[in-house]
Symmetry: C2
Subunit: 285 residues, 2 copies
């Protein structure tokens, strides 16, 4: 997805939020804002949002000497979601279509995004909404069909805490799953440590993508990850950052997300607040 002009103010907002989470002084926060404006001024034509976000969050970590500004928030998110795990499992087990419910819950978990909002509100309300809500784009039938025949699944994680919702879905998937995480901290995206805290090491092979992009930019990922991406017969890509990176990555990629940003909504063709399971490279426009 290209960078829209609406993304510019949003990057400044995100930079300020991250600088505060990192415990930056007022002066450091201002430096981060100035550095972000420099990054935005020097943008290559065609730079996509996760690429820019990577530079912005790098500037925050460097300016404030804080390797993982979201560490505490991430731990809280994981704990909060783990409390819900028995309930998520119960909802799936008691559903007339457990796989549909599991997919919906994995999408519900995508609300735990600290790049868009300071606070993701009441999780139970989001779960209730997403369980009933109609998909704005629904390629779940094609995804489910592929999951029947594929020999394994590559699952690209997104936010920490959401990882636990992913775990509830992965428990319903009968083929082996590789769960990809970020190579080092950026925003509240899950790293290997965060995924382990969510218990994903017990049911998947966790794979670092080797990069600190809040999304998946293949040219910045490790050879090992690129290889896994290429060989995967089917890929679930969670969240906005992965959609921004992989919206045209080909028909084995299924982007599962909540539309929390109006600009992504325009790009994908679904209103803000909607839920989407979008087969990549399938845009009608």
């Amino acid at each position: 997805m290209k960078t829209y002009l609406e993304c510019y103010p949003c990057f400044l907002k995100q930079a300020l939020s991250a600088a505060r989470r990192a415990g930056g002084t007022e002066e450091q926060q201002l430096s981060v804002i100035r550095r972000t404006m420099e990054i935005l001024k020097k943008l290559d034509a065609g730079a996509i949002p996760p690429e820019i976000a990577r530079h912005v969050h790098h500037a925050v970590r460097e300016e404030i000497s804080c390797p993982d500004p979201y560490r505490e928030a991430k731990q809280q998110s994981t704990e909060q979601a783990l409390v819900l795990l028995p309930e998520l499992r119960r909802l799936i087990e008691e559903s007339s279509d457990p796989m549909d419910t599991a997919i919906r819950l994995a999408i519900a978990g995508n609300i735990m995004d600290l790049g868009v909002m300071e606070d993701f509100g009441n999780l139970q309300n989001t779960i209730d909404r997403v369980l009933k809500q109609q998909f704005a784009i629904d390629h779940t039938a094609e995804l489910r069909e592929l999951l029947e025949t594929a020999d394994h699944l590559l699952y690209l994680g997104d936010n920490t805490g959401e990882t636990v919702f992913d775990r509830a879905l992965i428990e319903r998937i009968s083929i082996p799953v590789i769960y990809a995480v970020k190579g080092s901290p950026v925003l509240n995206d899950a790293t290997e440590l965060d995924a382990i805290e969510a218990g994903l090491d017990t049911i998947t092979t966790i794979l670092s993508n080797g990069s600190d992009v809040p999304g998946t930019l293949l040219n910045l990922c490790s050879e090992e990850f690129k290889d896994a991406f290429e060989k995967a017969p089917v890929i679930i890509a969670k969240g906005q950052g992965n959609y921004e990176s992989l919206s045209d990555a080909g028909r084995k990629v299924f982007c599962m997300l909540q539309i929390k940003c109006p600009v992504i909504g325009i790009d994908i063709g679904a209103p803000k607040g909607s839920i989407v399971c979008y087969r990549s490279g399938n845009k009608s426009k």
Copy 2:
């Protein structure tokens, strides 16, 4: 009021919105964003928001060669409010405290602010809310007392359309009123033309402040206006821009506004969504 770090992303957002209203191409919109970042980079320590907004909107008008990007929106706002004028008058006349109702309605009109939002929503809902809502800061008793003894009032207008709500209040004020407007277009702030279209020339003396600041920065105003400001025994200053400019201007100034911005809310000490009649220089913090 000082410029908070939260104001930075907000200026970019406002610049983009204004560039679009001015009919700018995608390329011109990007130029406006870049120029805004330059303005923000070169900020003097102590620059206050209306001063920065002035430069931003100047850049928009220059980049896109559009002297009044908000002209059409302003005309629509005036027409929309004029339709409501008979109802505003009826509400005031039938009230048990007509002056209280008239003040509240003038504050309700402050919602017609296109600097904060793209669209100010349903006016009737705002009127209903503000008529019932408790003041977060209420210095109306002191204002009303001064209006009893003063020989005239200087009334600093804010948004176009809001002008009509001001007119309904001014009709209840028995002393002569000077209604101050912006010297040239900026945002949807009322100029002389806009005030005349709201019928304010029939009940007030309209006075240009000689500046294009979305607020009132005395050092940038005309001598005539500064003289009127100095001589006025009591001043009503409408809206956020005037609060940002005049929050410490002295006890004859009463800022009447809705808090539409969280940062102004923090500065004045009233939550977003609240209504305020604040006697300047009266901050407890």
